[in-house]
């Protein structure tokens, strides 16, 4: 602040603080400039403005106070700005909390306790409920809740077993079940660790007629342990309890009905003790297939996974309809379980090969070879006996006769998910008889072809859905395989390579006629490169991106003129063709120092070669002489 400003400031302040002095008095001072007078006048205006009082100020103040009081609970949780309460000792907190709850209202607390008591009583009463009982639904709900609340998976599986056992009182092992007037549930619950081991050790012993199956009273020691561990009164006369080993077997039978052939994934032994136990020694029993029933019992339990009770995930299939020549016993005890997947019913999945000529049928009999893979392999083996002569004992439905559908029925080739195709199915059937036909799994893909590979102008493959599909000689192609076109491809995979079985190009190529192209001409601006590769450039202030399909004629260099044909997609420009012309004439001369030495070079060159220029002189002299001679 300058001295003059300070002077006027002091004067202004002096005038303001002088009582009774105002703008008019300031104006009386001759030394005061106009600015100061104006400031004093402005001060007067402000003071006049300050004299104005708010209308209904008291009422407005009261309303504001009410607003504050109403907003205090939201703004400040503890109203009244009291100090934070002192924390009582932890041994008094529960008492204080209870007192506070009772002080607040005892009704909800009493209601909650009552509801809990009633629920507990209902669950207790429903614990032994049977189907038909009004408490049975309560029991089911309680069981489900117990399963969900079971902390670990083994315990959960055990809980499931216990529940299933409880719900299947009529199923028992005839020779093994030793009746006890006990409730098993607490026994199993009480020995969660012992029971699986019991079942693993005792299934064979539990087979009726076995060495240790001496009836209900002669039990193996472990079974006795469990049996004697519980001795509760009879809850129901119909409830019969078997030993733990047999109990697990009961689970098998209960889950997998007797009308189904069970294949044990865990113990592929022909004679599964579990089945024997389940059937109680009645060999083939009811464990026969009734197609097309496909039942899968998936009870996840480590207990179930143990031998004797290994029914963890039993894929139940009807009797293999494909094995016309195979002696397929209904009991399935002698089958080595070659196929580990479910075979749908023949009616449900008609095979494509069924359309083939049945003339081949009498001469060939399909045999199912066991393969560890997902699909079994059907091999055509020449046999003298036609397969149709074989009585399909294991085939429940004789409608699927081998005479109608010969070896190509591929009945042992299940198609649970994807369709299967025989790679040589399109060839002549005679060739099929000589070479084994391999079944492959066909997959399908539908998407946009975004890159096409050609070899000698011929499409050899293309990318679709990030997969490279190769085209073979047998690939059936409908439409033109062009990048950008929509296509539906069915392909198979062989040695991690995808081969197209059929390609149907459904949509037009995206980069085709439907796209609008624009042309732009001008000087190339900044060229953008990534790892030495041009990815785009500026042309007339617009950034043009290069794609893999961009055709470039010439070299894209800055300040060169170019004509670009491009399309716009999502506000981005992609070049289709780039035609680069000659160098720009608008190159600034002053910026490049190199032309100067180039210009000097021609001037130097003649000076360095004076002799050649002197040599022609003698040549020209005779001419001159000749011309001069006549003159002389």
């Amino acid at each position: 602040m300058s001295a003059e400003d300070r002077h006027w400031q002091e004067l202004f302040q002096e005038l303001l603080e002088t009582p009774g002095e105002s703008a008019g008095a300031a104006g009386a001072r001759p030394e005061a400039p106009d600015e100061l007078n104006e400031m004093l006048f402005l001060t007067q205006q402000l003071q006049d403005l300050g004299q104005r009082q708010m209308p209904d100020a008291d009422a407005a103040l009261a309303r504001a106070r009410e607003r504050v009081l109403q907003s205090i609970p939201a703004a400040v949780p503890d109203r009244g700005f009291a100090l934070p309460p002192v924390q009582p000792p932890f041994w008094q907190r529960w008492r204080l909390a209870l007192e506070a709850a009772m002080e607040w209202s005892p009704t909800p607390l009493i209601a909650a306790l009552t509801i809990a008591l009633v629920l507990g009583l209902m669950i207790f009463a429903a614990d032994n409920a049977r189907p038909g009982s009004p408490f049975y639904r309560v029991k089911i709900v309680a069981d489900e809740m117990m399963q969900r609340l079971t902390p670990s998976e083994p315990d959960g599986g055990q809980t499931i077993i216990v529940q299933i056992v409880q719900e299947s009182p009529t199923v028992q092992s005839p020779g093994q079940a030793h009746e006890q007037n006990t409730d098993v549930t607490p026994a199993v619950k009480a020995s969660p660790v012992q029971q699986p081991t019991m079942m693993t050790q005792t299934p064979v012993n539990a087979v009726p007629g076995g060495p240790s199956s001496g009836g209900g009273e002669q039990q193996p020691p472990p079974q006795k342990e469990i049996a004697t561990s519980v001795s509760t009164p009879v809850q129901s006369p119909t409830r019969r309890v078997v030993t733990p080993g047999a109990r697990a077997t009961q689970v098998v039978v209960t889950v997998a009905p007797a009308t189904v052939v069970a294949k044990n994934d865990v113990t592929p032994a022909p004679t599964s003790p579990a089945i024997n136990i389940a059937t109680g020694g009645m060999a083939p029993l009811t464990v026969t297939a009734v197609p097309p029933a496909i039942m899968t019992a998936t009870v996840k339990s480590p207990v179930i996974g143990v031998a004797g009770a290994a029914v963890i995930s039993r894929t139940v299939t009807p009797v293999s309809t494909a094995t016309m020549a195979v002696t397929d016993s209904p009991a399935l005890t002698n089958t080595p379980l070659p196929v580990t997947t479910a075979t749908p019913s023949p009616e449900a999945t008609p095979m494509p090969a069924a359309t083939n000529s049945p003339t081949v049928a009498p001469t060939h009999t399909p045999t199912v070879t066991s393969s560890p893979g997902f699909f079994a392999t059907v091999t055509s083996v020449a046999t003298r006996k036609p397969s149709r002569t074989v009585a399909p004992t294991a085939t429940p439905k004789p409608t699927h006769k081998p005479s109608v559908e010969p070896e190509l029925t591929a009945t042992a080739t299940p198609r649970p998910v994807a369709s299967t195709v025989q790679t040589q199915s399109s060839s002549a059937p005679v060739a099929r008889t000589a070479t084994p036909t391999a079944t492959v799994k066909l997959k399908s893909a539908f998407g946009v072809i975004y890159r096409v590979r050609r070899k000698n102008g011929k499409v050899v493959g293309f990318y679709i859905n990030r997969r490279y599909i190769r085209i073979t000689k047998t690939t059936v192609v409908q439409g033109e395989i062009v990048a950008g076109g929509k296509a539906a491809v069915s392909y198979y995979t062989k040695k991690k390579r995808h081969y197209a079985a059929s390609v149907v190009v459904t949509g037009a190529a995206r980069s085709g006629a439907g796209r609008e192209y624009q042309t732009l001409a001008g000087a190339i601006g900044r060229v953008r490169k990534v790892r030495g590769r041009i990815v785009g450039f500026y042309l007339n202030g617009r950034y043009i991106r290069m794609t893999k399909n961009t055709t470039v004629k010439g070299k894209i260099v800055s300040r060169k003129k170019a004509i670009v044909k491009y399309y716009t997609k999502k506000r981005r420009r992609y070049a289709v063709e780039v035609l680069v012309q000659g160098a720009s004439k608008s190159k600034p001369a002053g910026k490049s120092p190199t032309p100067k030495p180039r210009a000097t070079k021609p001037a130097v060159k003649p000076s360095r070669t004076p002799k050649p220029t002197a040599k022609p002189k003698p040549v020209s002299t005779p001419v001159r002489r000749s011309t001069a001679a006549p003159a002389g």
Partner: protein, 174 residues
């Protein structure tokens, strides 16, 4: 003040009764709108309570602190108001004709509005000094105490504020 700083309800209530009229007058002189004044006055004390609850009370001067809150609220109000692009004619403030002369009342209103707009264009400190000094009628020492500044600093702010205010009003009339 100490009791209020300790969040004593009675002390805070006394502070409220002491400063509420002043804050209301301060806001009214800055806004010239009774409704807005009523609203902002309540907000000032709510902010005060929230700050005290969060342990962010005043450090040196309670009056300076509470005026600062009010000033910030007024600035926020004008800032939000400037973002509005239209005003319903029904919402225009009621202009009472005290003397029965609507022309004079309207002229006074326009004049006061021009002054308030000019004040709002000053810096925060200048606007606060001008308001406290001339609209609220505090003297230099009181303003210095409120603003926690020396009297010389307040005088300088006052002079510069008035000079700036004059220039702004000149430009408005031009």
């Amino acid at each position: 003040m100490e009791r209020a700083a300790a969040r004593d309800p009675e002390a805070i209530a006394k502070l409220y009764h002491l400063y509420a009229p002043k804050i209301q007058s301060f806001i009214y002189h800055r806004t010239s709108d009774p409704m807005v004044t009523e609203d902002l006055t309540g907000q000032v004390f709510l902010r005060m309570l929230e700050a005290m609850k969060g342990g962010k009370g005043w450090r040196t001067s309670f009056s300076g602190w509470i005026y600062r809150i009010a000033h910030n609220l007024v600035v926020d109000y004008y800032r939000k108001r400037s973002q509005a692009t239209y005003t319903n004619i029904e919402d225009t403030p009621h202009i009472p004709a005290g003397n029965g002369d609507p022309y004079k009342a309207t002229a006074a209103k326009l004049e006061s509005d021009a002054l308030l707009r000019a004040i709002n264009q000053l810096t925060d400190e200048q606007a606060q000094v001008i308001t406290l000094r001339f609209l609220e009628g505090y003297n230099i020492s009181e303003v210095a105490e409120i603003m926690n500044k020396t009297e010389g600093a307040v005088k300088a702010l006052q002079f510069r504020g008035m000079a700036t205010l004059r220039r702004i009003l000149e430009q408005q009339t031009l």
